[in-house]
């Protein structure tokens, strides 16, 4: 594989994503964990850019980092009393780690050409093995996505359902998070 700037960028973003994620699950301080989550999300946004999905990258930064992470930070601060806990992992973490390693191994076997030799069955045969074979793509504009969301042939129904879901989830969140005496 030729080491292009794209590949370098991929590795950097991948490292950000995975390193941030790892820090999220291992960091004792929950506040730090939340900050590392932002880092991981930012790396993901970079990957989106590499995959020529700028709208999604923007939404990733705006919605995830800007809204969800902030929401989580609020939650952390509301439960601040518990931030200084020393033990961040529970007793079953070695079993969980083992299980996840096994899962990762299985996924590697299934998804990568490496596994094909071991399994004797080419699960990833249909996948493009080389990035160069990927079809050329034109940028999909925000306008196209907006049209897709709002046209009858597109995704207007799922869009409405999702909006409904989001609304009801927010209402429910408000109800759940309210002080008790209101209920």
């Amino acid at each position: 594989m030729e080491l292009t700037w794209q590949a370098i960028a991929f590795f950097i973003f991948s490292a950000l994503t995975l390193g941030g994620g790892f820090a999220v699950v291992t960091q004792r301080n929950i506040f730090h964990a939340a900050l590392f989550l932002m880092l991981s999300l930012f790396g993901t946004a970079g990957l989106f850019v590499l995959l020529i999905a700028p709208f999604l990258a923007a939404v990733q930064v705006l919605v995830y980092i800007g809204a969800i992470a902030i929401l989580v930070l609020f939650a952390i601060m509301l439960t601040r009393r518990l931030m200084g806990l020393t033990i961040s992992l529970n007793q079953q973490w070695p079993a969980a780690a083992l299980a996840m390693l096994v899962l990762f191994g299985v996924l590697l076997l299934v998804l990568t050409p490496v596994g094909d030799d071991i399994l004797g069955q080419n699960w990833s045969a249909n996948l493009p093995t080389d990035g160069d074979t990927a079809p050329e793509v034109t940028y999909i504009t925000v306008r196209e996505i907006g049209v897709a969301f709002s046209t009858q042939n597109g995704f207007v129904l799922p869009f409405e359902i999702v909006s409904l879901l989001l609304t009801s989830a927010l209402i429910g969140a408000i109800v759940v998070a309210r002080e008790d005496e209101a209920i």
């Binding site: 529970n90 079993a95 969980a96 299980a99 096994v102 899962l103 299985v106 076997l109 399994l119 069955q121």
Partner: protein, 838 residues
């Protein structure tokens, strides 16, 4: 169902009911009310009396062809099906036939008199006496006794008869042992019960055999069914010793009578039965128990003679047994009666003797005579016993009086409580001293002396009582004459005369026996009864003279009275009175002293003095009437002169009412003994023999005892018999002792050493203990097995499940992460497995 209970066919059902009901009422409800109990009991018997007597008159006088006549069996009675025995029904019922009517005449009357007498007798005892303490119970027992006897009388089958029979046995046990504080009393009760029980076992076997042979126990089916009697009398029926079934059954029934009617050799209980209160003696020896025994053989006479004919000297085994044992009993009882000093024991032996008369008479087929003697004897013996009770009461009052006056030293050979008596060490005096020995003494005294006599009963201490208790003396004279067989004016004379006449058939009617073998049983019975009658007259004379004639032989007799006030009525009296105060109170004197006005206190005092006396002596008068006059109904039709009374012409043609009535009970009329011998010279041999027996016996008695013996004088008969024989006679010829030594002691030894010690304790108990120990060990082993294996399995499975649950429930920790881990782990396993397989 509409039943007219007053109909003669149904009325017999009701006759036993009032006394039985009275028994229940007194036992359950009235136990605390003495006088009420007595009144209820007496009224119940009076009710029975009111039913029985009209029934008797209706049957005996106003019913045409009553009884068995010309093949027609016309009696009153009804029956119900008592139980279904599958192939047949057992019928329980009542019947009134001619024989029953005679008892229906006698039994309720005698009982009523006894009940009335009992009230006075029992009340005359002081407050703390057992007689008073168990006053109600006495009348309850007496009621049960009466009910059982009446049941027995009206029964139409052997089973119902046996029920009454056994209940009477129980009642005799309870009543003889009524004063159970006295060792002699409860021993006598046990003795009576056990002795009669021996006989009853045989009797019951006989009943069973009879039922097995005939399939019925009804009189009508057996006794009035010639086919059945013939079959039973046929000696081919059984192979046992060549005897017929009738002979075996009859002998067993006779054994039952021997026990109940106190015939030798089972007579030993009867003299001891005097331990009960005197009304009980009257009940047992006159109205009920022994009468029932004799009634049984009279009732079953057709069966007893089945296969034979005593009038032709064809004696069956039961008849021989009866004839021989009856003769022995009559003789022996009379012989022993001579030597008794206890007034009640004299009467007891006279009872045994007279019952021997009846049984022996029945043995030679003197059916009517036996029944007749049963009735007359019941009257005069009840009278005599009640008189003796009055005498004893008078003596006890004399003793009581002496005690109160502080003259204890005047009471002769009074046995102190705790002093040894032949029966043990627990004599109770007339004042109801507490018993001091209720422990059972297992060993029999080595030299048992049965000549012991309680003080108030001792005729040697009496004498001159005629002046003290004249009514009793006169009525007892009537009874004694009747017992002795005083000619004409006594019931006993006629019945005894008829028995002797029947026994003399071998002379007066020899034609009947020709070609039939020797009438040896008739001869034996005649001579035995002749001499027994002689002895009866002798000891009766002795008894009456010793009791009533002459002068008092003791201080007790001097103060004997029936009009003695109770202790609590004289508590104000000083113990050291001068002589005139010792004289019993005479209420009339008080009346004379005070003004002649009525006062409740005076009436009560008078009543307390006279009521008991009246209650005791009134029945005596009634019974004395029957003891004197009841015999005329059985007068021989040819009795000279007197037969005018019964419709004769002075020489012949009179009527023997009793014979005419009772003989209809049988299919074949019993023979009428002729008045005189056959041939040209007609000698009235039966009459002569009974007259001879009376006059010789009574004359001898008067010769010996006519001049009353003095206090402390030896009995004049003792010189004649010799002191050794005299002592033996007073000890009942050592028969009781013999039984004690032969049966009681070995049995006791066997019971204690073999049955109890060796068999029960060492063998059976040991074996049982071994078995028990083994069982316990097995049980322990099983318990271990149970605990380890079965409990192990039983508990193990649940505990396994529980521990598994306890273990696996940790899975459900409530921790979502754990669930997730498990599910993802399992998913992974599936995926990995899938990968490995594919």
């Amino acid at each position: 169902m509409d039943i007219n209970w007053l109909d003669a066919n149904y009325l017999p059902w009701l006759i036993p009911v009032p006394p039985l009901f009275s028994f229940l009422l007194i036992i359950l409800v009235l136990g605390r009310y003495k006088i009420l109990s007595a009144v209820v009991a007496t009224s119940s018997v009076f009710l029975s009396f009111l039913m029985a007597w009209p029934l008797f008159f209706k049957a005996a006088l106003f019913t045409e062809d009553f009884g068995f006549r010309d093949g027609v069996y016309r009696v009153f009675g009804s029956h119900i099906t008592w139980m279904d025995l599958g192939y047949q029904q057992f019928k329980m019922g009542v019947t009134v036939d001619p024989l029953t009517t005679t008892l229906l005449f006698m039994v309720p009357l005698a009982m009523l008199m006894i009940f009335i007498y009992s009230i006075g007798y029992m009340r005359a005892y002081p407050e703390n006496d057992p007689h008073q303490i168990r006053f109600s119970r006495f009348f309850a027992y007496l009621s049960l006794f009466a009910g059982a006897m009446l049941t027995l009388v009206v029964a139409d089958n052997l089973l119902l008869l046996f029920m009454g029979w056994e209940v009477m046995g129980l009642c005799s046990y309870l009543l003889i042992g009524f004063l159970f504080e006295k060792k002699s009393a409860y021993q006598a009760a046990v003795k009576a019960f056990m002795t009669t029980r021996i006989a009853d076992v045989f009797f019951l076997v006989g009943i069973g055999y009879l039922f097995a042979e005939t399939g019925s126990l009804s009189y009508r089916d057996i006794l009035y069914n010639e086919a059945v009697l013939e079959r039973l009398g046929n000696s081919d029926l059984t192979g046992f010793l060549g005897l017929s079934a009738a002979a075996i059954i009859g002998t067993l029934i006779v054994i039952g009578t021997i026990g109940k009617a106190a015939q030798f050799p089972l007579h030993v209980w009867l003299p001891d039965a005097m331990e009960g209160p005197t009304p009980v003696s009257a009940m047992i020896h006159a109205a009920a128990m022994v009468s029932a025994g004799v009634y049984l053989v009279i009732r079953f006479f057709p069966l007893l003679e089945a296969g034979g004919n005593p009038h032709h000297a064809e004696y069956t085994l039961p008849l021989i047994v009866m004839g021989v044992l009856g003769s022995v009993t009559a003789l022996g009882g009379g012989f022993l009666g001579i030597a008794q000093n206890d007034i009640k024991r004299v009467l007891a032996y006279s009872t045994i003797s007279q019952l021997g008369f009846m049984v022996a008479a029945l043995g030679i087929g003197a059916y009517v005579a036996a029944a007749f003697h049963l009735i007359t004897h019941a009257f005069f013996k009840a009278l005599l016993f009640m008189c003796s009770g009055a005498v004893i009461h008078a003596m006890e009052h004399g003793e009581h009086h002496l005690h109160e006056m502080g003259h204890d030293d005047a009471i002769p050979h009074r046995v102190q409580p705790g002093e040894a008596t032949p029966y043990g060490t627990d004599y109770i005096g007339p004042h109801g001293e507490a018993p001091n020995d209720l422990e059972w003494q297992p060993t029999v005294p080595a030299g048992i002396d049965l000549s012991f006599v309680a003080v108030p009963n001792d005729m040697r201490l009496m004498g001159g009582l005629f002046n003290r208790i004249p009514v009793t003396a006169l009525t007892m004279l009537a009874g004694s004459l009747s017992l002795a067989g005083f000619p004409i004016l006594s019931a006993g004379f006629w019945s005894k005369d008829e028995i002797l006449a029947d026994a003399l058939l071998f002379i007066t009617e020899p034609s009947a026996f020709e070609g039939h073998g020797a009438p040896w049983l008739h001869i034996l019975v005649f001579f035995s009864l002749f001499f027994a009658a002689m002895m009866t007259a002798f000891y009766t004379t002795r008894m009456w003279i010793m009791t009533f004639a002459g002068t008092p032989r003791s201080e007790i007799a001097k103060y004997a009275t029936l009009k003695h006030e109770h202790h609590h009525h004289e508590h104000e009296h000083d113990h050291h009175h001068d002589a005139h105060a010792v004289v019993p109170h005479d209420a009339h004197e008080h009346e004379a002293e005070e003004e002649n006005r009525f006062s409740w206190e005076r009436f009560k005092a008078w009543w307390s003095v006279y009521s008991n006396s009246a209650l005791m002596q009134g029945p005596l008068v009634v019974l004395a009437f029957f003891a004197i006059f009841a015999g005329f109904v059985g007068m021989h039709p040819n009795f000279p002169i007197l037969n005018i009374l019964t419709g004769g012409n002075g020489a012949s043609g009179g009527t023997n009412y009793f014979y005419n009535l009772v003989s209809d009970t049988l299919i074949h009329l019993p023979p009428k003994p002729p008045f005189a011998t056959e041939g040209s010279i007609k000698i009235p041999l039966p009459l002569l023999s009974s007259l001879t027996a009376f006059f010789v016996g009574a004359g001898l008695g008067y010769m010996v005892y006519g001049v009353p013996i003095e206090a402390g004088e030896k009995d004049r008969s003792e010189a004649f018999f010799g002191s050794q024989l005299w002592t033996a006679m007073q000890n009942r010829l050592y028969i009781d002792t013999f039984y004690l030594r032969t049966f009681y002691v070995p049995f006791e030894w066997f019971a204690r050493k073999i049955s109890y010690q060796a068999i029960d304790k060492e063998t059976i108990d040991e074996f049982l203990h071994t078995v028990a120990d083994t069982m316990v060990s097995i049980g322990e082993a099983l318990k271990m097995l149970n605990r380890v294996v079965i409990d192990g399995v039983g508990d193990g499975i649940p505990s396994l499940i529980a521990s598994a649950g306890r273990y696996f429930r940790n899975i459900q920790s409530g921790s979502i992460q754990q669930y997730l881990l498990f599910s993802s782990g399992i998913l992974l396993l599936i995926v990995v497995g899938f990968l490995l397989i594919v």
